[in-house]
């Protein structure tokens, strides 16, 4: 045994020594080197033809022009085409691959065929019809203002008791309040590019508000005064941050308005308003403690009056919800006092994008205004991440055994409440357009084309609704019809992708116009509508009081809060931004 063990040791030793004279160890070294460089689980970069094509980012109302660089037709990057792009835009092409992306229809959380949903909704529709009840069939559009939204309204008009619901939105609240003061059917938009001083009350102007990248570019061109109780990003980058007491927004606005009137700095157009006297009386009641020194407030009022054009925006914060109506009214009124309504650099009137006349549909209803328990069936259209809305608000409105279905990009948003969910095609999977941003002073029409095939189960909400109404209506078709209507109007001009010059619409034929739009072209229509005077200082019936603002339910407009997992770079791997809705970690950079 001893000798055999010794033999074994000798054999092992000899083998070890001999091995180094064979190629084996050297090959092993080389192979280990290659192996550590090409692990099988490392993703392979795509191979294929490199192309680039202009389109628009329709992830938010900004609708920025982008150049999609693709490999084998799949976009590998969206890069700015002429105008700047925001962080979310740079990773917009990831939405189709988002880990939370819904790829198959689900019923009560388990996979199911999408066809069932159509049947279920149709059955529900029949039931409502048979009972002739007061229940309605409603579409809740979480991305209102698109061409698809118009089609929803049109299709709902063909269904008995059809209702089109919009969620309460905070973005553009001041623009809407100002619009209400203008005579006629004119929409106001904040002309940020030409403004000189902007007082932002709680509005996240530096955090995805308006057209984020264009706001960023404009930021240093005007003086930004930001009033907010907490140090938000807007407070960070503002030229001046007013740390006001929480809930004192109305008092702040009223205080500035009062100083303007006291010192006679208000605009003549405000004095001409019929409710000027009533406003002055209301103002006296509304002034209150803001936490700012009176001198500072006075300085601010004087600056606003001196550094014209100056505007005030008080849309509210996505984290804390919209401001109370009186705050919005006060903001609108302050804009009138500053002479910022109807003028360049302030809230300028904006033309509406034409739509075919036959598209008249059901009116827009605010979801709050609906009667409780009146919805028999609800279809939620949630094509993008970032929508949020308190479900209790919707739940109240649902009938006892109401059916809730959704057409959604994922099953994690508002749509997670639905019994049936169908995957919706997302950005870059379908032709779509975008509504105008609150800082877009020109009417414009831009679309994004389909680059990728949607998942086989995917149906967009418009197609689904059309099937229920027994019609054929694809969003692409609707966009083409709308383009035709724009072309027919003869208004505005088209800038083809890559061109500097804009061509009048009349110089193109309809097909060429449509093709150019699909190829990344942009239609714009700006018409000087100067001389629009506000009809009132604040909307009829609105009061100004400094009652503490009620804790609003958290509602946001639609914003792509988390388009790409890469945005984790901003939320968790840097201290730049807090995750939406999360409190700021506090402190400075590492």
């Amino acid at each position: 045994m001893g000798s055999s063990r010794r033999r074994l040791l000798q054999l092992a030793g000899g083998a070890g020594a001999g091995l180094i004279f064979t190629p084996a160890p050297w090959r092993l070294l080389g192979d280990s080197a290659i192996w550590t460089q090409n692990w099988s689980w490392l993703p392979k970069t795509p191979r294929g033809a490199l192309t680039s094509r202009a389109t628009h980012c329709t992830l938010c109302p900004a609708g920025c022009a982008v150049c999609a660089r693709s490999v084998g037709g799949i976009p590998t990057g969206l890069w700015p085409a002429g105008e700047p792009l925001c962080p979310a835009g740079f990773a917009g092409h990831h939405l189709a691959w988002h880990p939370q992306r819904l790829r198959e229809a689900r019923h009560d959380g388990s996979p199911d065929a999408a066809a069932n949903e159509v049947e279920a909704l149709r059955g529900r529709l029949e039931a409502i019809r048979a009972r002739r009840s007061r229940e309605c069939f409603a579409v809740l559009d979480l991305a209102p203002g698109r061409t698809a939204s118009l089609i929803h309204r049109r299709l709902l008009a063909r269904i008995d008791n059809g209702a089109y619901l919009e969620p309460p939105a905070i973005e553009g609240a001041t623009a809407r309040a100002v619009s209400a003061l203008l005579p006629g059917n004119v929409r106001a938009a904040l002309d940020l590019q030409r403004t000189k001083t902007l007082l932002s009350v709680g509005t996240p102007v530096a955090d995805g508000w308006g057209s984020p990248a264009r706001v960023t570019r404009a930021l240093r061109r005007f003086r930004l005064v930001h009033a907010e109780a907490q140090q938000s990003r807007a407070a960070d980058i503002a030229d001046e941050w007013l740390r006001i007491h929480p809930g004192s927004e109305t008092a702040l606005l009223a205080g500035i308005a009062g100083i303007l009137i006291e010192e006679g700095l208000e605009s003549p157009s405000a004095r001409r308003c019929p409710d000027y006297g009533e406003f002055r009386a209301a103002l006296r009641r509304a002034r209150g403690e803001t936490g700012l020194a009176p001198d500072r407030l006075r300085q601010l009022a004087r600056t606003l009056a001196r550094e014209q054009p100056a505007a005030v925006v008080a849309d509210g914060d996505p984290a804390n919800g919209p401001y109370a109506p009186e705050t919005q009214a006060a903001a609108a009124a302050l804009n009138v006092l500053l002479g910022a309504v109807g003028v360049p650099g302030g809230f300028a009137p904006r033309m509406e994008v034409p739509a075919p006349n036959e598209w008249a549909g059901v009116p827009v209803s605010a979801i709050e205004s609906l009667e409780d328990g009146s919805i028999g069936a609800l279809l939620i259209d949630e094509p993008l991440p970032g929508c949020s809305l308190p479900w209790t608000l919707v739940e109240r409105k649902l009938a006892k055994d109401a059916l809730v279905a959704a057409c959604a990009w994922s099953a994690v948003g508002v749509s997670r409440r639905a019994e049936w969910i169908v995957p919706a095609p997302v950005f870059l999977e379908t032709l779509q357009d975008t509504p105008p941003a609150p800082d877009a002073v020109e009417a414009s029409f831009r679309i994004s084309d389909a680059f990728l095939p949607p998942p086989p189960d995917a149906i967009d909400a418009v197609t689904l609704l059309a099937r229920l109404a027994g019609e054929e209506m694809a969003p692409a078709k609707a966009l083409e019809e709308r383009a035709a209507a724009i072309h027919a109007s003869g208004n505005g001009a088209l800038t083809k992708a890559g061109d500097a010059e804009a061509l009048p619409v009349t110089a193109l034929d309809s097909a060429e116009f449509w093709q150019s739009l699909k190829d990344g072209g942009e239609w714009r229509w700006s018409k000087e509508t100067g001389g629009v005077e506000p009809a009132r200082l604040f909307p009829p019936g609105a009061g100004l009081s400094v009652e503490p603002v009620r804790a609003a339910e958290r509602v946001s407009g639609w914003r792509p809060a988390g388009v790409s997992p890469l945005l984790a770079k901003l939320w968790q791997e840097s201290e730049l931004k807090e995750r939406p809705g999360a409190p700021r970690a506090g402190g400075s950079a590492s």
Binding site: R6, S588, A589, S590
Partner: protein, 426 residues
């Protein structure tokens, strides 16, 4: 040999592996002693496996604290393992015959320290399979290249030095081939002692140079001579200083644990005297280096030395402790004949010296990385994860086990047998 192996036969067989004339506890008792260390080793290997198979996110290191517990461990362990090269140097080159009593033990300690350090380094690097790239694409300007080359070569030297010790096992030495090989190898040990001293000299220094060249880390950056910053020399001297102390300490611990006298008293005395003298030289050099650094090197780069000690817990106390409590004090305890006459004082001095060098390596690794460089940075925080601690403990357990087994089956202390014969004096 056809009978089945009974437990008592097994014990007998095991006993035959132990050298005659020395007393070792029975196998079950020995296994009881090793069991917790084995458990620790297994746990640590699991922790290391997590890091190797999934990635270093299992550690709490980050892009600012890119080195952590492991590098500190490597530096400390390699400094303490310097006893191997220094004892070899003293015995074979300086002809200090007393060192014969501890040379085998020193070799095993060196082997344990270096192999442990290399093992943990392999876990610490992100791509251990590419470790040989350093030999393939060496950047000769990098201190780490010097370290890698020297440590690899020195680990080989230690393995060769360990061979005669291992071949002297009671069973192995009966094999004529091994015995002859061992005899001849032992005769040429002076070559390896010289090589070891040369390699150790360079890599102990390069480990210091590792930090000294970091111009991006003003706390560590030092001017130097030629291509070597002053930390290069400080590390060599400090390692040489604590090597004998650590040998004395481990010998004493082994004596206590085994319950036998292993070396003559004067061995302790010699070790302590040498350690103390070098330690005092080191303290003087360190103090001079600190003064130059505070008054010239750091200010020239826009950093006030005061600022380095404003980050808690790295206050000025750490510098004072390093030079005073863990430098001057043990230096004096070890050098003073009166003080080291007491074994307890001598061992205290040795322990303080060892702790001092560990503290120095800690400061160079951890404090260097904690301190901000950019003016707006905040000091970085770091606390090792359990995986890091586990791997750390595995290396300790590995060391204890290798040493325990070597002590049981090999002749680590040649005097033990003599002393067992009644303390016969040479």
């Amino acid at each position: 040999m056809t009978t089945a192996l009974t437990p008592s036969m097994l014990l007998q067989r095991e006993r035959e592996l132990i050298r005659r004339g020395v007393d070792r506890c029975p196998l079950p008792q020995f296994l009881m002693w090793t069991a917790p260390w084995f458990a620790l080793l297994v746990f640590g290997c699991y922790a290391a496996w997590l890091c190797l198979s999934q990635g270093l996110f299992h550690t709490n290191m980050d892009n600012q604290y890119a080195f952590g517990l492991w590098i500190f461990l490597d530096l400390a362990v390699i400094a303490l393992g310097a006893g191997a090269f220094f004892t070899g140097f003293l015995l074979y080159v300086a002809r200090k015959q007393e060192m014969k009593a501890v040379i085998n033990s020193a070799v095993v300690i060196g082997l344990v320290c270096y192999s442990g350090a290399v093992a943990v380094l392999m876990v610490d690097v992100g791509q251990p399979l590419r470790a040989w790239f350093t030999f393939w694409h060496p950047n000769v300007h990098s201190m780490l290249t010097e370290v890698t080359f020297c440590i690899t070569a020195y680990l080989t030297v230690l393995l060769i030095e360990y061979l005669p010790v291992a071949l002297k096992n009671r069973k192995l030495c009966r094999v004529t081939r091994y015995a002859v090989f061992e005899y001849e190898l032992h005769r040429l040990m002076v070559v390896f002692a010289l090589l070891g001293a040369f390699l150790s000299f360079f890599h102990q220094g390069s480990l210091g140079g590792l930090y000294g060249v970091l111009r991006g880390r003003p706390f560590a950056f030092r001017e130097g001579f030629g291509i070597w910053p002053s930390t290069f020399f400080l590390f060599i001297v400090s390692a040489a200083a604590v090597g004998p102390s650590f040998i004395a300490l481990t010998t004493w611990i082994t004596e206590k644990l085994s319950g036998h006298r292993l070396v003559e008293g004067r061995v302790y005395d010699t070790l302590a005297r040498i350690s103390g003298k070098i330690l005092l030289v080191y303290v003087a050099l360190k103090a001079a280096d600190t003064l130059v650094w505070m008054n010239a090197t750091a200010p020239a780069r826009g950093f006030a030395a005061r600022g380095f000690y404003e980050t808690q817990p790295f206050g000025t106390w750490i510098l004072l402790a390093e030079i005073g409590v863990f430098g001057l004090l043990p230096g004096w305890l070890l050098v003073s004949r009166r003080a080291r006459a007491s074994r307890a004082v001598l061992l205290c001095g040795a322990a303080l010296a060892c702790a001092g060098v560990a503290l120095n390596r800690f400061v160079m690794t951890i404090q260097t990385l904690a301190l901000p460089t950019l003016p707006f940075e905040r000091p970085a925080q770091y606390w090792p994860s359990w995986q890091e601690a586990g791997t750390f403990l595995a290396v300790i357990a590995f060391g204890v086990l290798v040493y325990s087994f070597s002590f049981r089956y090999l002749t680590l202390f040649p005097q033990e047998r003599e002393l067992a014969f009644g303390g016969e004096k040479e």
